[in-house]
C-alpha cells in the first residue's frame, strides 16, 4: 500500500459524513468492519471461486448480532437505528455481496416477514432462534415464470382440514439449501397471495442448488419444489394479505441494498486507488496520469452520491417519513452506480483486474445480481415513474 495520508479513511468519508452519525452508528459500522476484515476478506476470493458459503461463520455472525438487529430485544434484536443497520450492510458487502445477501434474506426478508405479518406466538417461536442463527430462513417469491411480475405466480395453497397444501416451484431463492424454514408466498383459494412458514423438511418439499452462477458465487441460490406440501394453520402468516405483503418485505431488503452497495463500491475505489498509486507504467505511477485520475475521481464521485442518498434515506426511515418509491430510487441508482464503479476498478487493475486475487471482478460479477434482484433497474424506474407522473407504465 502506498504511504498516502490516511487514504482509506479519506476515500471512505470524503464528505465528512461521519460527523452526521451517532457514536453507536459508528461503533456498529466499525465492529462489523473489524469482523469482516478479519474473518471474510482474506478468504472471500477463495470461497467465491469454490462457490461455497462459509457456513462456519453463521454462529459468529449471530454472535456479532447481524441477524434481525433492528427488532425489539424480546425477539432477539438490538433495536439498531435504520442508519446503523445500513452501515452494517455496507460493511458486510464490503466483504462480499453474497455475505450481505445472506444477512439481507435472514433479516430483511424472512425475519421481517414473521415480525410484520406473523402472530405473536410465531414471533416468539422463530425470531429469537433466527437471531441466534439456529434457524436460517429463505424467502420464496420468485418463480421460473414470475419475477418482475410476482402477481402472476402459479404457486397455490389449497385449503384442506387443519391447514393448506402448497404446490408450486420457486426459483432463485437465496439460502434455499441452507434454510430450515422457507417463507413461501402462494395464492389461496380466493387467489389472494399469502405467506406461509414452511419447514424445509416437510414431506413434499425439496431444494435444488443452482450451481451454474457466474455471479454471487459465495451465496447459495436454489430452486424450491413444493409438491402438495401440507402446512398447518398455525404456520400461516396471519396478517399477510395480497401482493403488498411480500412487497413490504422487499422494501426492507431494498433499503439494505441501498446501503450494502456502498460497501462494494468503497472496496473497489480503495483497491483501485492504491493499485494506481503503486502500479508503475511508463516510468511513473498510473495514478499520475490524467485519464486514470479522471476515472478514479468519477468513481469517488459516484460513491459520494450513493452515500449521501443512503444517509438521507436512513434519516427518512428513522423519522417515519420514508416512502417506498424513495427506496426504489436509491436501490436502483446505488446498485447501478456500484456496478459502474466496480467495472472501472476492474479496468484500472488491468490484467490483475480479472483475477479474484483482487476484489473488483468479484464485486462486479456480484453486482450484476444486485442490479437485478429485489426489483430490476427497469422495475424501479417504473415504480418511481408511476409515483412521479401518476401513470402506471408496467
Amino acid at each position: 500500500m502506498a504511504q498516502v495520508d490516511n487514504s482509506t479513511s479519506r476515500i471512505d468519508d470524503y464528505f465528512d459524513l461521519d460527523s452526521q452519525l451517532s457514536s453507536d452508528e459508528i461503533q456498529v459500522r466499525d465492529a462489523v468492519r473489524k469482523f469482516v476484515d478479519a474473518k471474510v476478506r482474506p478468504l472471500a476470493g477463495q470461497w467465491w471461486q469454490e462457490g461455497v458459503f462459509p457456513t462456519e461463520l453463521i454462529p459468529q455472525l449471530a454472535e456479532l448480532g447481524v441477524f434481525g438487529p433492528t427488532l425489539p430485544e424480546k425477539y432477539g434484536g438490538a433495536e439498531l437505528t435504520p442508519v446503523a443497520y445500513g452501515l452494517m450492510m455496507q460493511e458486510l458487502e464490503r466483504g462480499d455481496s453474497g455475505l450481505r445477501s445472506f444477512a439481507s434474506v435472514q433479516s430483511g426478508l424472512a425475519m421481517y416477514a414473521i415480525y410484520r405479518y406473523g402472530s405473536e406466538a410465531q414471533r416468539l417461536q422463530y425470531l429469537p432462534q433466527m437471531a441466534q442463527g439456529k434457524i436460517i430462513g429463505c424467502f420464496g417469491l420468485t418463480e421460473p415464470d414470475a419475477g418482475s411480475d410476482p402477481g402472476s405466480m402459479r404457486t397455490v395453497a389449497t385449503s384442506v382440514p387443519g391447514g393448506v397444501r402448497i404446490t408450486g416451484v420457486k426459483r432463485w431463492i437465496t439460502n434455499g439449501n441452507l434454510a430450515q424454514i422457507a417463507i413461501v408466498w402462494a395464492k389461496d383459494d380466493q387467489g389472494i397471495i399469502r405467506g406461509y412458514i414452511v419447514p424445509t423438511d416437510a414431506p413434499g418439499f425439496s431444494a435444488r442448488h443452482i450451481a451454474t452462477k457466474a455471479s454471487m458465487r459465495m451465496s447459495v441460490t436454489s430452486e424450491l419444489y413444493l409438491d402438495n406440501v401440507f402446512v398447518p394453520q398455525e404456520n400461516q402468516l396471519v396478517e399477510s394479505k395480497g401482493l403488498g405483503s411480500p412487497l413490504g418485505c422487499l422494501t426492507q431488503a431494498r433499503y439494505g441494498i441501498a446501503w450494502g452497495t456502498i460497501g462494494a463500491a468503497l472496496d473497489c475505489v480503495n483497491v483501485a486507488a492504491s493499485y494506481a498509486q503503486t502500479r508503475i507504467a511508463f516510468g511513473k505511477p498510473i495514478a499520475a496520469t490524467q485519464l486514470v485520475q479522471e476515472r478514479l475521481v468519477d468513481m469517488l464521485s459516484l460513491t459520494v452520491n450513493m452515500q449521501l442518498k443512503a444517509l438521507q434515506l436512513g434519516r427518512l426511515y428513522q423519522s417515519g417519513g420514508l416512502r417506498y418509491p424513495q427506496v426504489s430510487l436509491t436501490k436502483r441508482d446505488n446498485a447501478r452506480s456500484a456496478l459502474v464503479v466496480a467495472r472501472m476498478a476492474r479496468e484500472i487493475l488491468g490484467g490483475n483486474g480479472i483475477s479474484v486475487d483482487y476484489s473488483p471482478i468479484r464485486h462486479l460479477a456480484n453486482l450484476e445480481t444486485v442490479d437485478t434482484y429485489e426489483g430490476t433497474y427497469e422495475i424501479h424506474t417504473l415504480i418511481v415513474g408511476r409515483d412521479m407522473l401518476g401513470e402506471s407504465a408496467f
Binding site: Q27, V28, E73, M88
Partner: protein, 255 residues
C-alpha cells in the same frame, strides 16, 4: 472483584502522523482515534476476571470530549460503567496519573489494570505512577494473570529476555498488560446498543482536587528524517543478486 481499567485514546497505529504548525502538537484532523491496543488487553482481562468471579468493571479515561467514544467502546465490550475525566489541557504523565489515582481512591478497587504503555507517547509511566500514588504493589508487562480470590493474592507471569518470571503479590494492586495476555473480544451489536444506556460519569480535574501542575512540557515535535527512496533491482536474477551483494557491502555496510 471490583476492577478499574485505565484506558487512553490514541491515534490508530495505521495513521500517518504529521506535525502541526507550531511544532508542538500533531495534526489531529482526519485521525482515527482508537483505544490504546495494550489497554484493550487490560479490558479483556478485567471482563474475564469478572465473568469468573463476578463483580464490576469500571473504566476511566482522561482527555477531551472525544474520549467518551473510547469509554463507550469499552462499555460495548462489556464494562459496566465509565468515568470520564474531561480536560482539554495538555497534561504530562504525572498529572494524568494523579487524576486517575484520585478516581481510584474514591472507590475501593480490588484491582487496577491498564496497558503496559500507550502507543502514542510510549511513556509507560501512568500505570506505575498510579501504583505509587495509591501505595499499592504493581507488576508491569504481564503476560498471564491468575487471581486467588480466597487468599486475596495474584500470580502474574512476565516475559523477560530469554525467560519467564512468575511473581506473586497481594491485591489491591496495579497490573499493566502486555500483548499476548489474551485475545480482546469484538464488541457485538447488541452490546453496543446496551452500552448507550450505561453510565459515564464526567469528572473534572478541579472536582478531583487536582492542580494541573505540568512539569514535563513538549518543547518541539519534528518528523523523522525522510528515508531515502528504496532501490529496486530488476533484470537478470544472477546479475541482480551480484549487485545486491555489492550494495549490501559497499553502501549498507552490513556484510
Amino acid at each position: 472483584m471490583k476492577i478499574l481499567v485505565m484506558v487512553k485514546q490514541v491515534p490508530d497505529t495505521a495513521t500517518r502522523i504529521r506535525v502541526a504548525e507550531g511544532n508542538a502538537s500533531i495534526v489531529t484532523d482526519g485521525i482515527k482515534w482508537v483505544i490504546n491496543p495494550y489497554d484493550e488487553f487490560a479490558i479483556e482481562e478485567a471482563l474475564r476476571i469478572k465473568e469468573r468471579l463476578g463483580g464490576e468493571v469500571v473504566v476511566v479515561s482522561a482527555g477531551p470530549q472525544r474520549v467518551e467514544e473510547a469509554i463507550r467502546q469499552t462499555l460495548a465490550m462489556g464494562a459496566d460503567r465509565g468515568v470520564h475525566i474531561k480536560t482539554d489541557e495538555a497534561l504530562d504523565s504525572h498529572v494524568v496519573a494523579q487524576a486517575l489515582a484520585a478516581v481510584a481512591r474514591a472507590e475501593n478497587f480490588d484491582l487496577i489494570l491498564t496497558g503496559k504503555q500507550a502507543v502514542d507517547d510510549d511513556a509507560a509511566q501512568v500505570g506505575p505512577l498510579v501504583a505509587v500514588f495509591l501505595d499499592v504493589p504493581q507488576v508491569t508487562v504481564v503476560l498471564k494473570l491468575e487471581v486467588d480470590a480466597e487468599h486475596q493474592r495474584l500470580v502474574a507471569e512476565r516475559e523477560l529476555e530469554g525467560s519467564i518470571e512468575v511473581v506473586e503479590l497481594p491485591y489491591p494492586a496495579v497490573i499493566t498488560a502486555q500483548r499476548g495476555l489474551n485475545e480482546p473480544r469484538y464488541p457485538t451489536l447488541p452490546n453496543i446498543m446496551k452500552a448507550k444506556k450505561k453510565e459515564v460519569r464526567v469528572e473534572s480535574l478541579q472536582a478531583l482536587g487536582i492542580v494541573p501542575n505540568v512539569k514535563v512540557r513538549t518543547v518541539s515535535l519534528s518528523e523523522p528524517p525522510e528515508r531515502p527512496a528504496a532501490k529496486i533491482l530488476t533484470g537478470d536474477p544472477v546479475a541482480a543478486a551480484h549487485q545486491l551483494v555489492e550494495l549490501l557491502h559497499a553502501e549498507a555496510k552490513v556484510i
